[in-house]
Symmetry: C2
Subunit: 213 residues, 2 copies
Amino acid sequence: MDYDAYRPGVLLDLDGTLVDSVYQHVVAWSEAFQARGYEVALWRIHAAIGMGGKVLVPWLLGRHVDDAEELSDDHRRRFLDRAEELRPTRGAAALVDDLERRKVSFRIATSAESDVREALLDALGRSDLASADADDVGAAKPAPDLLLATCAELDVEPEDATLVGDSPWDAEAARRVGIRTLAVRCGGFGDDRLLSAGADAVVDDPQELLGRL
Amino acid sequence: MDYDAYRPGVLLDLDGTLVDSVYQHVVAWSEAFQARGYEVALWRIHAAIGMGGKVLVPWLLGRHVDDAEELSDDHRRRFLDRAEELRPTRGAAALVDDLERRKVSFRIATSAESDVREALLDALGRSDLASADADDVGAAKPAPDLLLATCAELDVEPEDATLVGDSPWDAEAARRVGIRTLAVRCGGFGDDRLLSAGADAVVDDPQELLGRL
């Protein structure tokens, strides 16, 4: 495929895409569910990662529960307890450097809460990178609100933008508004799920994208 | 498909198939690698789960290392530290009960080390179930040695046996010797990988197999 076609605006998912954080999220959610007596299989939690927390809990439990916010808070605490384990995905820092060097217009697009976002940017070694605050932009992924807000910040039309993301929810949100998605495998999602959610191509990780955006 | 065709001998993988343990293994391996200065992406560790530990380490690192045994031991300790979190997969205990009630000949086929095997059987609530000792039967999955040894214990020919397993390495080992594989998704492996490794069918979890083996 022609990666040059994906300029001029690049949206970068953070969790799972630039930072190797999906499995820590899975385990932190599982612990939070177990602590409150909910039994949720870990593969199903993995399948939900990438959704905003407000959507993930009812999606996994099949209903709204009164302690959804406590669940999310507990997950966040447990995830942040593992912050020292977080590492950038292969090529993540180099990809950001490359976009900057070539003056490609890009922005982080994450629905992570602010403390999680800070921990992730810290792990990436790029605490200076700005992003829209997910809480300010409306519904979480797979709703496209955050992606549209980020396009507006970049001053690009959605059809001129490319999202780099690791989860089917990234691809689905992007497809809804005509943003193209380059998916990375490093979040542990299968090619079939990424492609059926609307990803335009799938590569291993940011290293494989380097210099091609 | 005709599940009845899969009798008379059933081999049950344990880790990830009857017990929801794959993500705990991924995190435990990641911690063990990090503690010794190896950087391995978590999605690649996930992709290797289901291999025996002796095969997994060189496969992931791309070379043989002197501290492979220490790595495996460290992983095992970290995994066992999380043993309290382990839960059966959906329908796992009921599937075993069902096979017993209908007098279908079956046996656990796991390459887990004995202490891990005990923790898993404990989580399943079936410490009484016997299995071949992986250390006694030769090479680990994806080599078929363990499966062949288990067939011999059951006194069935490989072509009359069915393996229920969650990983591509189960399916690959089975295919090599003509054992059919019913794969379950609850280990978090994608359908495409399971099918391309040789699985004959893919279902969510043991619950979905109940009464059909």
